[in-house]
């Protein structure tokens, strides 16, 4: 199962990004194997529609679960439509590594 975690950097010690559409990077984790990779979010500085295009990207990549700090109304609607699970984590300065560890176990 492919999961995306919004990240503020492209390494596993980066902080978890609380925004979905305007997150700097997306960390794609395979929960079965624990392997992960990072892709850059080209919509980070977009003037509008960042949530929508990020949600479309998730559909394109075949993601089944998205972990972020919050989702905007448009992104929520799209992710819901394509049956992608949304997870909102509280803000407690977590690193990407810690979240991956929680997922894989």
């Amino acid at each position: 199962m492919k999961t995306v975690i919004t990240s503020s950097g492209n390494h596993q010690k980066a902080n978890f990004d609380l925004r979905f559409g305007r997150a700097a990077w997306f960390c794609i984790v395979d929960e079965a194997t624990g392997k992960f990779s990072f892709i850059e979010n080209d919509q980070m500085k977009a003037t509008g529609g960042a949530g929508t295009s990020a949600a479309e990207k998730m559909v394109e990549l075949g993601i089944e679960k998205v972990i972020s700090g919050d989702f905007g109304p448009k992104a929520k609607e799209l992710l819901e439509k394509f049956n992608i699970q949304m997870v909102i984590l509280p803000d407690d300065q977590q690193k990407i590594k810690e979240i991956i560890a929680r997922l894989v176990n």
């Binding site: 679960k65 972990i67 929520k76 819901e80 049956n83 992608i84 699970q85 949304m86 997870v87 909102i88 984590l89 509280p90 929680r102 997922l103």
Partner: protein, 134 residues
Amino acid sequence: MSRKKRLRKVVAPPGFKGYKPYGNIKRRKPFVELLYEEYEAIKLADYDLMNHLEASKLMGISRPTFARIYESARRKLAQALVETREIRSIFGNAILDGTWYLCNGCNARFTIPVQIENQVCPMCKSIQINTINQ
């Protein structure tokens, strides 16, 4: 002031905007408003053949409230048929399913899409989860 109405959970909104009678001679009459929750009540009780208790749990309301909504729905349908009125679907006091859950173990909030069968927290696999109205 009366107590605030609890939102009724609707799994899928009706797939129509309304129904119109045809072949009627008399002039058109005002339409009947069928609320989303009334449509859902008819669907659960008469199409999915659930009993009222199961159906009320699914909609997040009490059994008597379900019975009232169901009765009002039946009366509206009967009125529309007998008085040859148009039926229109109106949103009402519904909350569309896309419900959010809260894990008591790790405070994560999450949705459970239809293809996921077991209702557990996606982060810590805990089964201690509650629904929240967001």
